[in-house]
């Protein structure tokens, strides 16, 4: 993406502040932690804008955001980073439950939020960047610094686990 780059960190804050907060909130499930993350991200943006190279601004911004989140997780050691399972089948949830499954519970945001927090962080951030923030796979790949194929796999596996947790 080659969109125009906001010139100042204040503009970044005004344009992206709410999205950064929502990304942080969906990853942490805690509003105070999310608020702390927003301030940390804006601080890093303020430092980094001077050396920003034109390219995918969204990818750059979200890489800063997810790195701030991961740093925070490591620092606080609240929730150890769950490793991505090597064996995909470990996370396979068996046959589809069928079209008559009631998804009424899914409409409850609290249940979805709880289920998101059950995901390994790598899956969670991919799903949130895709479904909450609305990034393309290419932008997510830049943000997370992995190939697009990995993004595709993480989003799919994350949704499959969510499906199991919500039914």
């Amino acid at each position: 993406m080659t969109e125009s780059v906001p010139l100042t960190w204040e503009e970044v804050a005004r344009v992206y502040g709410r999205k950064i907060y929502n990304f942080s909130y969906r990853l942490t499930g805690n509003r105070d932690d999310a608020a702390d993350l927003v301030q940390e991200v804006l601080l890093r943006v303020r430092r980094g804008l001077a050396s920003y190279q034109p390219g995918s601004f969204e990818g750059w911004l979200w890489r800063i955001t997810r790195n701030a989140f991961l740093d925070d997780v490591r620092k606080r050691n609240r929730r150890p980073v769950a490793p991505i399972p090597d064996d995909v089948e470990r996370w396979d949830v068996g046959a589809s439950p069928g079209s008559d499954v009631e998804y009424s519970r899914i409409s409850l945001g609290d249940d979805i939020q709880k289920a998101l927090l059950e995901l390994p962080i790598e899956f969670r951030e991919a799903v949130v960047l895709c479904d909450v923030i609305g990034l393309s796979y290419e932008e997510i790949a830049v943000a997370v610094a992995v190939p697009i194929g990995t993004v595709r796999s993480r989003i799919h596996r994350g949704r499959k686990i969510l499906k199991e947790l919500l039914t």
Partner: protein, 137 residues
């Protein structure tokens, strides 16, 4: 038979190449379980995307906010100034308009006749027009 399940989420996100989409279509044409799987994935995806965007706590953006706040103040000032101007015009018009010393029947008829005539039960013929012959007798 291997199921191209990883393609399903990418398909829902519009991230498949044309060739991959053709491959997925061909498989789903013969695989009922993959059709059901796709439906379930779509429901989950829709549910996640239905999460509401939460609002920022007030003051969180710090120095980035003052450029926004004065606009609200300016808007409030303009609304207040406009209201004061309207009040001033009404006050001046009230002072300058001559007030009748007493209401006459014609005054009432001219001011309320049209409104009264809308309701047949209170038409101006009953209320406003006296029977002159009865009065003379």
């Amino acid at each position: 038979m291997s199921h191209p399940t990883e393609m399903m989420s990418a398909y829902l996100d519009g991230e498949l190449t044309r060739a991959e989409a053709s491959q997925l279509y061909a498989h789903m044409g013969t695989c009922g379980s993959c059709v059901a799987e796709m439906e379930e994935l779509q429901k989950v995806r829709t549910a996640i995307r239905s999460l509401p965007m939460v609002e920022l706590p007030p003051g969180l953006l710090g120095d980035a906010e003052p450029t926004v706040i004065p606009l609200r103040r300016n808007r409030g000032f303009l609304v207040g100034a406009a209201a004061a101007g309207v009040a001033l015009v009404i006050a001046v018009a009230t002072i300058l308009t001559p007030q009748p010393s007493a209401w006459s029947v014609d005054d009432l008829n001219s001011r309320f006749g049209a409104r009264v005539s809308l309701d047949p039960a209170f038409g101006p013929a009953k209320v406003m027009v006296p029977d002159v012959r009865d009065v003379q007798e």
